[in-house]
């Protein structure tokens, strides 16, 4: 069972970088047990990254109206097509559906871990204090999810 952690965001737009920051931190923690990709690309460009994996954890920033730093977690099936206020994950269900329709092996389970951002419209590097504080918690939660998947993998192929 192949596991991918995909961090999305833009490192020049303040808290929009949180997905990248969390993914990089997870790369250090998880070591070679899972693949980690942190990318500033979006939309269809993501298709090539996710092909061939069984489970996918997407980490991204979101503006959903809760307190900055709040963690949101959902399955990709919960995202209505092109209907969320998240500039990156919006295209994700479409990308996955397209890949499947074209016969590519797409991840059977896709979890999204989104961190409520405070500032994503300012061109500036660095997270706001609220997000800098939340990032380690997001790393912990992401690592829990991934460890759960690794345990599943070991049960199936002891």
């Amino acid at each position: 069972m192949r596991i991918l952690v995909l961090g999305l965001g833009n490192s020049l737009l303040r808290d929009d970088a949180v997905g990248l920051v969390v993914a990089e931190a997870l790369r250090d923690r998880a070591g070679p047990s899972v693949d980690v990709i942190a990318t500033e690309e979006s939309g269809l460009s993501l298709l090539d990254y996710v092909v061939g994996y069984d489970r996918l954890l997407v980490i991204d920033a979101v503006k959903a109206g809760s307190a900055p730093g709040t963690l949101h977690e959902f399955d990709v099936g919960d995202i209505r097509w092109a209907s969320t206020a998240n500039p990156h994950a919006t295209g994700l269900p479409e990308v996955l559906a397209l890949g499947s329709a074209l016969g590519s092996k797409m991840p059977g389970e896709v979890r999204v871990l989104a961190v409520e951002a405070q500032e994503i419209y300012e061109i500036k590097e660095g997270l706001t204090p609220a997000l800098a504080a939340a990032a380690p918690l997001a790393v912990d939660r992401a690592w829990e999810i991934v460890q759960g998947w690794i345990a599943d993998r070991q049960e199936r192929h002891p």
Partner: protein, 493 residues
Amino acid sequence: MSETTRTNPRSIVIDPITRLEGHGKIEIFLDEKGDVEHAYFQVPELRGFEQFTVGRPAEDMPQITSRICGVCPMAHHMASTKALDDLYKVDPPPAAKKLREMIYAAFTVEDHALHFYFLGGPDFVVGPTAPKAERNILGVLGKVGLETGGRVIAMRRELRTLMQQFCGKIIHPVFGLPGGVAKGMTKELQESFAAAAGRAVEFGQFTLQVFDDIVLKNKGYVDLILSDAFTQKTHYMGLVDARNKVNFYDGSIRVVNADGKEFANFKVQSYLDHIAEHVAPWSYIKFPYLKKIGWKGFVDGVDSGVYSVAPLARLNVADGMATPLANEAYQKLMSTLGGRPVHHTLANHWARVIELLYAAERLKELANDPEILSPTFRTLPTATPTVGVGVVEAPRGTLIHHYETDEKGLITKANLIVATQGNSARMAIGIDKAARGLIHGGKVDDGLLNQVEMAFRAYDPCHGCGTHALPGQAPVVVTIRDRTGRVIQEIRR
């Protein structure tokens, strides 16, 4: 929203625009009878570009600007690189210019393919009146077939892989430098580009056939293209070569008026003599207009300073295409739609396919040009920097980068005129007109709203950097408000 809804007369917001890159919002204000008083579109403001760049070395700009927008990084990288040529008053050797244009042609092919099939496709390939549930990527696949869908993905992947091999990561290209490019072309990679270019030309011809079969042979679509709701008579702007043919990489900026007469033809360094920006209280986006005519409001016609950019505008300012297959297609478009200039906004989709074919043919010419293998691919800059301005035709229109620096080359001022901005006034006129034509007595239905959005999507607007803005795909919201500004209906997609 699937059925017709009667609302209390007054305001509709379409926010965010489905499938658009960047966050968009359309606000429609109704009068007391429930008819449209004004329709506006809004985008969030991306702040701080100038502050971010001031004090940084100008050489960093091709990397910084390509990162701001994940949608068309290569267009920013190239405009920025050309601004650095101008800043250091250095002329790249012929091989460098050809390599830049070749990579840029590859980028244009893959970006236009993405838009035609997957972003604009739901409107035109699937059809404007198709049920909402089918107006998406899977609907496009259902119409064109899985084999074609696979071909689009494979073509994009092949071109992107080659670009990465030569330029590094798409978002962080290590390619353009003031006076040239970062490395020379190898024989082996050149052969791969040439092979891919051959396939790209076939792909372009095939895509034109798809457009012909699905759109042109369907009277309903053609009538829609020609309909008054999607017709605006504005000025047009685009880059042309010395023979007035479309060119994405270099040339002079030509403007024609609504009657097709040349209004201006200038080098980008004098853009401030020709382009000024109007600020409206209801939008963060600035509305560029022709300075020599002046801002006459959101109106079309030869007396208005409003102009338009992007595929149809480029075809309208040019006397033809520089490559044979694309030129043949250009002649067919012009003769079918009544001659130059064509004012039908939805013809942008057709123009985009013709440009895709041109870019593929140009890619093939350049990939087979032995000069790209030359070891002389950079002229070292020696001049003291002061001001540099560069321009390219981004997929979505004329893109200008303007930097000013101190004598050490540190940025003191930076200004961008991004492609989507060039269409912002015309889009505002188009949305207002479509809304007026389609919404009466407070009656709004899903199909009608989709047509309002189509007036927007034809331009392939990318508010990723238009505000200066967000990369990625974001949704659209339409808000309908009454005379008092009260929201009476909000439609999210």
